[in-house]
Structure formats: structure tokens, C-alpha cells
Symmetry: C2
Subunit: 492 residues, 2 copies
């Protein structure tokens, strides 16, 4: 029985080549049970006329479908749904009609926050995206990334891509992290001291799980990375927050009884302050005197384009007290979800066992692609290209901030990708962000960075990592105008 | 100053094209500080002679290095290390000389097991790999996987690949799971009821964290998946194990006070038993009567080549009590690390928040690649190809087991990819596995699957998912010979 030509139509919104869309249309029809085994498809000529495409495109799509055994070709009689084509399920799909479960009771551990920061998925369509931590398509080296991915997808790397590594990592990636990245931070480490993680987020989470429990005390910076505070809150440890100054975390303020200190010495998050060498040494001395461990989140160390980067805390550590967190999210892209932990072997062994239980390992295909990208030198070329662009944008944004009289609360003297801003005390930057969004400007309200129940509402962060230099001045002007209008109104 | 030609050599063991290896050799020398800015490289002709490669290969490598700003070209004067080339770190790399940390105290939660099952990373080099859960390169459709990866790596999908999704997933993958995979299991679900996970391992881990605590009781099958037992032990819940029979988990034996039951109805792990429909209904009724939840690990449902698959528990669930775990590890490859959870929205919301805190999201590039692979019908074609091969191998292995008089302890009547075997009571299959390994045969000892302190030592699992049909008979013969030799010896 021939399938009616009328049942075929190409979705105008679908993506992919015409050939791929035709393949998809036919395969979907078979999988959904609309076309049955043995039914004849319209000839390639009729189908081409009907869809308004070339006949060769239809023929190529049919040929592919034959190769995949969706269709069979019977010479001049045409194409038929294959006798081996998949059958749709015999039992009807159905949704649970009701629920007899008391979910408020059934959930043993609550993790969902009462309030979630709104993060537009379509940030790239905004004209002035002062958004933090996303990748700028004009800077990323997609061509070489694709080439490295192709290499990692090759037959030669089949095992590296497909294998269940259990608790292991790609030895090639470990080698290039040890050889090429860590030496630039003054760190020598062997493979037993390195663990690949699902980004810095996962590295911080693993570290908190291994080192903390209800009897241990963690000390964080205030303000600090909101996701870290969430991680530590879930770990149910005791938690202290120490206010940072223009040099980052002051070691003298770390409270007695602290077991683990989380710090961001390269670029304090979110103030971007860089901790000076004398303070780094004082922090290490205090760690030894008070017997605490230090978790060094060295994010964005690569983006040090105004001065040469300081040596990492880890490189100054004589006593094995520093656990180092690195990430490819800022230097490559966050959707990669790759970072790494460097620490003493007994710690890494525990973090590795926990990671294996939680997720086994980051995908081999991603690990191998990054290994190639590093080994061929593309990574370093990319970091230099990004640094040059950020430096240019930084000059523009610094000037625009002066021109419009905005107040900077913190800004990296070494580099970074963002500036920490302060509005008048009565301004709520959540309202500011909502207003600006309607004008195509994205900024990040600052309250979530602070510890305590009554965080200041008048801070915000603007990043220059995803906005073209030519757009910056106009964007800053719009921020200044919105602030001026809000300041003129009395507090509601 | 020219760089001496003698400092260049190609590592004979290195991988990649000649051109890539030359690029890597030069980039590494610059990054390690051996070649400094402004130094002249040997001419392409001299380098080609020295390395024994064609001149055009060297020229292409140099051109790439110029594009990445490692080298600069000065016309007829040749190639020089660029003035913008990266500088090696100024501070010397060093390793912590000693440790003053008491790691036995510093580690708050221990996860590393005392004993780790040895899993050879080089399993593919064994002649008789009856290994479970790895991908057979002769069955996997690498060409189409590469094409889908290429599409996901394209400019059009740049945001899907690179973006930080925070707690979201690729909407395209969610759509194809909902439209194309779940209907075949009789399940209708909307996007709020689906979460992408890092494989089934991560899905089970997230579920345990959300549903269990020290006051809750989980019931598992005995024997069962060892990694699940590890997850539940770490969750510090109360844990019961119920012995399975030839139809899987007997609902009547589930102890009172159970909050969550973990079960593998499609192919019980490791016995491969399929739970009959009447027992599925009895299990659901008991869940309603006793007010417990069911976690259905539906791994390998695709590998149902002997009979049509049974409807999933989830599809029979009228009361919203079943949480469904699916995985692409067996149908695509385990190194992909992609699976999914399907459950009531309140549960998925918590699992999503926890996943965001632990790792944010599985990499966008992997999610999008699978979405294309599904949408173009390659996934279904692959599953059919695998099913045909497994069916052929199953016939061979069943016959070989009869021919050599081995004892089957459990074998799927629907399909699956492994057979659960039993040796004489005094045989230790850890010893058996070690002996067989020296003969190129890989099997999996069975003790780790059992609950309790004194697990039986005489079970083992043999899989036919990664071994060619032509090798099976010989491999089974070697197992039988080793068993016979061990049985002849008195217990040591």
C-alpha cells in the first residue's frame, strides 16, 4: 500500500540540511507508527516535486534510510518501509492519572532553592550583554576545536571516547594538565595528585563533601561565589564568612576553629581583587599555625593581562595544605564542564572514589578533545587572543564608567573579566536589572554574593567577556541613565 | 639566534598526523621555555631533511603556528618565535616538600573502598573479552556519530555547545527523549518530568540523595548492581536486600517500613531475569498499599531480541510512584556518560537542584550530539544492528555452554548482553578470573553483586556484548578447562 504523499511535510522551523530533514521526517513517521512495514514510499520524483526540493536530495535521503534499514529498495518498484524497520510500541503510552504520593514527606533532602536567579538562556540576543561567564563566539576558535574534536572522534581514539573509565581519567589530558598548565602556576604534580572534574563547580562540591561534616567549620569570603555557599550549606558544616578588602581575604580575620578556608586569590569573586604575595604567605603561615586546609579556586588566572600573574598559593605551599581548583570554563567554554582538582594524594583518592560513585567520570570524548587542543598549542593561542580582547574592552569600560560617573566597588588590577559595581544605598539592583533588561542590557544583581540574612541590595556585577568593545560605551550609558532615574525617585 | 636543528625530534610513539606532531613539537618547546621569542627556526627544507618528512608538511605546520602566533614569518629570512608567543612561567615549579596534614583526620567522609575490583583498561587487547558494559567497535556506528558530532559543533549550535545551562538541559535532547524513546516504554512525560544525568550511575545517585536519609529504608535486590549498593551505603539509609528468583524481585518479600525499592525489571542485574507482568502489577499494588516509591532501572531494555519487551513499570503506574532511570551507556557507549531520570515534577525539581549544585549539567555538546543521533534515526538503526549481533552471539554462547557443561545461574529470556554463571561451591571466581586473564580471557567475578558480609564466591558473569561470535566457543572452552582444573584440586 503506498503511503499518501499528503502525509509528508517538512517542518519550516526544523534545522539541518534538507537531506537530513527528509531522513528525519521519514524515520519519525516509522518510529511513531504512522508508516508500517511493507508500505511503499512516494517515488523520489514525486516526493521532490511535493516538497519542492531537488530529486537528488530525496534520493540521497532514501539511500541513507536504506543503509539504516528503515527502507528497502526494490529496484524499479521503488522504496518500501523495511521489513526490519522498528515497530512502534504495542502498548499505549500513558501518563499517571493521579498521584497518591505526599512529596513534601517523600523528599528526604531538599535542595531546590526558594528563589532562583533568573538567567536568560537567550542572552546572546541582547544588545548589551554584560553577562558573566558565557563564551564570546567572536573570540572562540571554533575551527580548531572542531579539528581536535574530529581527531578525538577518530577510530584511533575509539576506546578513549567510548570506554567506561570507572574512576580513571584520560591519561593524555592528565599529562597535558601536569605538563602544560600547572607549571605556569608554579605547580608540579604527578597523576595521583590530579582529578578531572565536571568544572570548578564539581571540584568545589567534591572537596566540600570530602573535607566537611556537621562538626567541621568552613570559612568563606564575603562576598563570595553564590554556588559555593549553596554547596557548603548543603554539606551542613558550620560556616563563617570573612569580609574581604581591596587585597582579598584578610588572614587575621579567619576565626578560630576553622577547618577549611575557601579563597579566590587570583581574582576574588566578585570583587576581582588579587591577593598580594605577603598576604598569601601570611595566609599559608596561619593555615600551618591553626591547622586548617586551604581550597584555592584559581579561576580566571589566565586572564591576567594587566600584570604578570602572581604565583598560586599552591606553589608557595610547603606543607601540603592547599587544594587547588582549576577550570576550563572561562578559558574554553562553560558548557564543556571540565575542571580539575590538584591536591595531596590521600585527598585526591577520596575525591576520586566519591566522583566515581556520583557520576563515574567526565566524558572521555570531551577529555580527549581538550587534550588535543592543549597539546597542539591552540589553548594558549586562544587565551592570548582572549586576553588581548579583554584588555581592549577593559580600557573602554574603565573610561565609560568614568565618563558616566558610576561607582566601582572592586576591579582587578591584574585583569579578570568583570567589574564589581556599587549603586546608591537605597537602589535595589534586582529592580535595576529588570528595568535594564527591557532595554537590551543584561547585568547581574549582587545580593546573592553576600552571606547573611540581610544582604546589601545595591551592588551589581558587569562583565566584559561577552560584549563587543564597540557596544560597551552605549551599554554603560544606559546603566547610568537607569540608575539616575531610580535615584531621583524616593525609595518605594 | 637560530635554534639548533639537533633540539628537534619527533616522538616515535606520538599520535596524530606528521603535521600535527611537528606543530606540537614546536609549541611544546616554546611553552616549556626551550625556545625564546625572536629565535629563528630551521628552514622548512632543513627541518624536513632532519625529520625525514616532506617539505610541504613542515611548511604547513609552520603556517599553522604562524596563524596561532607562536611563530612569525619574515619573508625570505624565515620563521621566528613570535614576539607574542607565550612566555614560560618566571617562578620555578615546585612540589610540596613535606606534609604537616593528618589526612586520616582531615577527611570527614571516607568514600574510597578498601578493595577495588580490577578492571583492565586495555580490555580490547584481550582475545576473549567476556567483559560487560563496554562498546564493541565492530558494531558502533562511528561514521554517523561523527557526522552528528560535527553538526553539534557547527556555528549554528554554538550556544548549545558552549553555554552554561545552569540547571537546564538541551531542550532538543529532552524533546527526543520524550518523543522517541519514552513512548516505546509506554511512558508519556513532559519536559518538567525529565532530567538528563551523567549516566544511570548519576541518576541512581541523585535519586538516593533526594529520597533517602538515616531514617529512611531502601530495599534492593540480592544480588544487585554493586555500584548501587555503594551509593546507598554512602547515603547512610537503612538497607534491606531481598533475594531474587527466576522472575526477579518477589514483591511479597519486601520488608515493612520500606520507603524506596530499587529494581531492574527489564533485565535483573546480574541474573538477567525479566519480571512478568503479573508480578509488576503486584509490585505496584504493594507500593500503594505500603506507601513506598519504586526506582525502576530500565537499563538494556533495548536489548530485547528474543521476545518483545514488556511494558515498563512506569507505564503501568497509576499513582505517580515510579521513578524511571534510563541510560545511553549500553545502547550508545558508556564513555558518553548520558542517562535520564523520569519522575513526578516535585521529585525532578529536587534532583535538578541537586545536580546543579554537584555539576551543573552534562556537557551541551554531548547532549546535542545525541539529540541529532536520535532525530536522524541512527540510534534506532544502531539498536537493531546490536540486537541482531547479540542474538547471533547468544545462540553461539548458549550452545557452547551446553557443549562444555557449564552451569547457568540466570539468563534473560528476553535478551540482555550477559549470562550469570555458577561454579562448584568451593570455587573462588576471583582466582578463576585471575587465571583466565593470563590466557586472554576476561570474566567478571560475582561476589561484589551480593549483599552481606559473607557473599558466595562461586558466581561469575560473562557478557557477549564485546566479543565476536567467532571467538565465543574457544573462550567458553578455556573457561570450562580452567574450572575443571580448579575443581580437580582440593580447596586451598
Amino acid at each position: 500500500m503506498p503511503i499518501s504523499i499528503e502525509t509528508f511535510f517538512l517542518d519550516a522551523d526544523a534545522e539541518g540540511t534538507l537531506q537530513a530533514r527528509i531522513q528525519q521526517m521519514v524515520a519519525q513517521g516509522i518510529l511513531a507508527g504512522r508508516f508500517s512495514r511493507g508500505e511503499r514510499l512516494p517515488s523520489s520524483r514525486r516526493m521532490a516535486d511535493h516538497l519542492g526540493v531537488s530529486r537528488i536530495t530525496v534520493t540521497l535521503a532514501y539511500t541513507e534510510l536504506v543503509a539504516d534499514d528503515y527502507l528497502s529498495s526494490k529496484g524499479r518498484s521503488g522504496y518500501f518501509v523495511s521489513e526490519n524497520a522498528p515497530e512502534p510500541p504495542a502498548f499505549p503510552a500513558q501518563q499517571a492519572s493521579k498521584s497518591t504520593v505526599d512529596w513534601a514527606r517523600a523528599i528526604a533532602h531538599k535542595h531546590a532553592p526558594a528563589f532562583v536567579m533568573e538567567r536568560p538562556a537567550d542572552w546572546a540576543s541582547y544588545k548589551y550583554p554584560f553577562i558573566y561567564g558565557q563564551t564570546d563566539p567572536t573570540l572562540f576558535d571554533n575551527a580548531n576545536w572542531r579539528l581536535c574534536a574530529m581527531q578525538a572522534l577518530g577510530k584511533r581514539d575509539f576506546n578513549a571516547m567510548t570506554s567506561d573509565y570507572y574512576d580513571r581519567d584520560d591519561p593524555k589530558l592528565i599529562e597535558f594538565i601536569a605538563r602544560q598548565i600547572l607549571p605556569r602556576r608554579g605547580i608540579l604534580a604527578n597523576p595521583q595528585e590530579i582529578l578531572v572534574t565536571m568544572g570548578a563547580q564539581n571540584a568545589l562540591w567534591l572537596t566540600a563533601q570530602v573535607l566537611l561534616n556537621a562538626r567541621r567549620r568552613a570559612t568563606i569570603e564575603d562576598p563570595s561565589y553564590p554556588a559555593l555557599r549553596t554547596i557548603l550549606t548543603h554539606s551542613s558544616c558550620q560556616l563563617s564568612a570573612v569580609a574581604v578588602d581591596k587585597d582579598g581575604l584578610p588572614p587575621a580575620d579567619i576565626p578560630d576553629g576553622t577547618d577549611v578556608v575557601f579563597t579566590t586569590p587570583s581574582h576574588q569573586c566578585p570583587t576581582a581583587a588579587t591577593m598580594p604575595l605577603h598576604r598569601r604567605k601570611a595566609l599559608l603561615k596561619k593555615a600551618e599555625d591553626d591547622n586548617f586546609l586551604i581550597v584555592e579556586d584559581d579561576y580566571e588566572f589566565e586572564m591576567s593581562f594587566l600584570k604578570a600573574p602572581s604565583p598560586s598559593l599552591k606553589s608557595l605551599d610547603q606543607n601540603g595544605r592547599v587544594i587547588y581548583v582549576g577550570s576550563f570554563s572561562k578559558s574554553l567554554f562553560p558548557g564543556l564542564r571540565l575542571g580539575y582538582l590538584v591536591g595531596p594524594a590521600p585527598f585526591i583518592r577520596e575525591a576520586r572514589a566519591l566522583r566515581a560513585s556520583v557520576l563515574r567520570h567526565p566524558p572521555g570524548q570531551m577529555q580527549r578533545t581538550v587534550a588535543y587542543y592543549l597539546s597542539l598549542g591552540h589553548y594558549d593561542a586562544l587565551v592570548r587572543r582572549m586576553s588581548r580582547a579583554y584588555k581592549e574592552r577593559r580600557i573602554v569600560i574603565d573610561q565609560a564608567i568614568i565618563d558616566h560617573g558610576l561607582t566601582v566597588a572592586g576591579r582587578g588590577t591584574f585583569g579578570g573579566s568583570s567589574i564589581w559595581m556599587q549603586a546608591a544605598p537605597h537602589i535595589n539592583t534586582n529592580d535595576l536589572a529588570a528595568q535594564l533588561r527591557t532595554k537590551g542590557v543584561l547585568i547581574e544583581p549582587g545580593a546573592a554574593f553576600f552571606s547573611g540574612d540581610d544582604p546589601p541590595q545595591n551592588f551589581f556585577r558587569i562583565a566584559y567577556s561577552s560584549i563587543a568593545a564597540s557596544r560597551i560605551a552605549d551599554g554603560i550609558r544606559l546603566i547610568a541613565e537607569a540608575l539616575k532615574a531610580m535615584e531621583a525617585r524616593p525609595k518605594s
